[in-house]
């Protein structure tokens, strides 16, 4: 039974490049959205997630909404286990697959086929799983013979298609997606949406960060509204999204 539970989860991100008092003040003026403070050792610390309590259960399709810099991506990374909370805890059961960056683990000088393997391994697939799925990934990407050419010869659209095909082939129990729309040309876009829908139906929990409210209404049953690292509202999708729209 897959679940993710956050208890009082708080995340302080230390920013090492920004040091010194004058810089701190500049940053404070620029970013009113986040709590920015200075640590004891002079490192600027951004409180990206502040005291989040949350439990996601099987069957939840959660749409993450909120303005830029509200902590959506950071929350996803925390759920994925990339960032561990500074205070509180994040516990999850089930295989978590984060699709946060479409270009993760793509090697310029390797062929498309080799990149399928590399990215598959990075996303936690086993060797046997990759071999079994290689054919369907190749077909889905529609790259044909280009798969035997090195990646550096690909157009950006082709790269995205390959990356998308590999990422969405992973069997995930908990799927974390960050703005993965806008792939390839119109016909591929359509295919990609079908594929995502299929992926959603297979995964037990889906968390989706997106700026398109209509899309979130369509695919999610719950919405989580983040604001300055806090949970502003969490509940049935229609309720939360309309609140969010009213406020904007």
């Amino acid at each position: 039974m897959a679940y993710i539970e956050l208890k009082g989860a708080t995340l302080d991100l230390p920013i090492y490049d920004v040091q010194g008092r004058s810089l701190k003040k500049t940053v404070l003026r620029m970013g009113r959205r986040n709590t920015i403070a200075e640590g004891t050792d002079g490192v600027v610390v951004v409180r990206a997630i502040n005291n989040v309590d949350l439990r996601l259960e099987k069957g939840d399709r959660i749409g993450l909404i909120g303005r830029n810099g509200a902590g959506k991506s950071t929350l996803l990374r925390m759920m994925a286990g990339i960032y561990s909370p500074t205070y509180g805890s994040v516990v999850s059961a089930g295989k978590v697959v984060p699709l946060l960056d479409i270009s993760l683990g793509m090697d310029e000088n390797s062929t498309g086929m080799q990149n399928i393997r590399l990215r598959g391994l990075l996303l936690g697939m086993s060797d046997a799983e990759i071999r079994a799925k290689q054919q369907s990934i190749a077909e889905f990407s529609e790259l044909g013979d280009y798969l035997d050419l090195p990646l550096r010869t690909y157009s950006s659209g082709m790269r995205v298609r390959l990356a998308f095909a590999v990422s969405t082939a992973v069997d995930a129990e908990i799927l974390l997606l960050d703005e993965v729309m806008g792939v390839g040309d119109a016909s591929f876009m359509h295919k990609a949406q079908d594929r995502l829908a299929d992926l959603h139906s297979r995964a037990e929990i889906v968390v989706l960060a997106m700026h398109s409210n209509s899309e979130i209404r369509k695919v999610c049953n719950k919405a989580l509204w983040m604001e300055r690292g806090h949970v502003r509202a969490f509940g049935p999708v229609e309720e939360v999204v309309s609140q969010y729209e009213a406020q904007d």
């Binding site: 994925a80 978590v96 984060p98």
Partner: protein
């Protein structure tokens, strides 16, 4: 603390397919589209050993048939050690893209460095083999010792790389310092000169742990038995070094994504 580091090590070893692939890709990338490929390593090492051998062999008044095998083994072995440590110090920094996007075990990036350098060693080792064939093997009995000696040697290189990598991720001046230190270590360690050649300041050799490490892998190939002290130093360093490195890794494992 220690157990967190240990768990990460276990998971890292389990995903050996990932780090062997990443290591291979890097070797291949470095020599992409060159006709001779990674054998450029063999060629450049060969030229280096040939020129240093002739000049220093004459300077030190050495017999070439002894000195060339000695030098080739020393240089090849030193280069895998220092490269592992130097590249280890930047391993987390350079893999930042992966670390920030996927929750993989962290030590795979260290194992990747070791693997890549073992691949490079395999190419460089051709020179050693060639010289052993040309000048003859001194003693067959000591040869098999080389295998456990090499393993112990790399185990030591790995923990130093782990510590260097972790500290360098946080303090970005360290990779430069480490590279400079390795340069100094090259001159004070008996690599191009024989351990017995220092008739004054022999403390430099006796108290230098790196001298023992290099002796450990060199002796079996030039027909000598590594002394018990050499073994003791190498094993002692490995045990205490690993405990320290795993504890440190366990303590700061979760901070790595913030640092890179």
């Amino acid at each position: 603390m220690f157990s967190l580091g240990f768990v990460d090590l276990k998971e890292s070893i389990a995903s050996w397919r990932l780090w062997t692939l990443l290591g291979w890709l890097e070797v291949r990338q470095r020599y992409a589209r060159s006709r001779v490929g990674p054998f450029w390593l063999t060629i450049s090492t060969g030229v280096l050993i040939g020129s240093i051998g002739v000049v220093y062999g004459t300077l030190f008044g050495q017999k070439m048939s002894d000195y060339l095998p000695f030098l080739s083994i020393s240089l090849v072995m030193w280069s895998i050690f220092s490269q592992t440590v130097i590249e280890g110090s930047t391993a987390y920094i350079n893999s930042g893209q992966y670390i920030r996007q996927a929750a993989t075990p962290k030590l795979i990036f260290m194992l990747q460095v070791v693997w890549r350098n073992l691949v490079i060693l395999a190419h460089n080792f051709l020179i050693v083999l060639l010289l052993l064939v040309v000048f003859g093997v001194k003693s067959w009995a000591t040869l098999p010792i080389f295998i456990p000696a090499l393993a112990l040697y790399m185990i030591n290189a790995l923990w130093i790389a782990m510590v260097a990598g972790l500290l360098s991720a946080r303090f970005r001046d360290l990779p430069q310092i480490i590279a400079a230190l390795m340069q100094i270590a090259f001159y004070v360690t008996p690599i191009i000169f024989r351990p017995t050649a220092l008739n004054r300041f022999s403390l430099i050799v006796r108290l230098n742990p790196l001298a023992h490490l290099i002796e450990l892998v060199r002796a079996p190939l030039i027909g000598e038995w590594p002394t018990p002290i050499t073994w003791a130093v190498a094993i002692g360093m490995a045990v205490f070094g690993w405990i320290f490195a795993l504890a440190l890794t366990g303590r700061y494992l979760k901070r790595i994504p913030y640092w890179v």
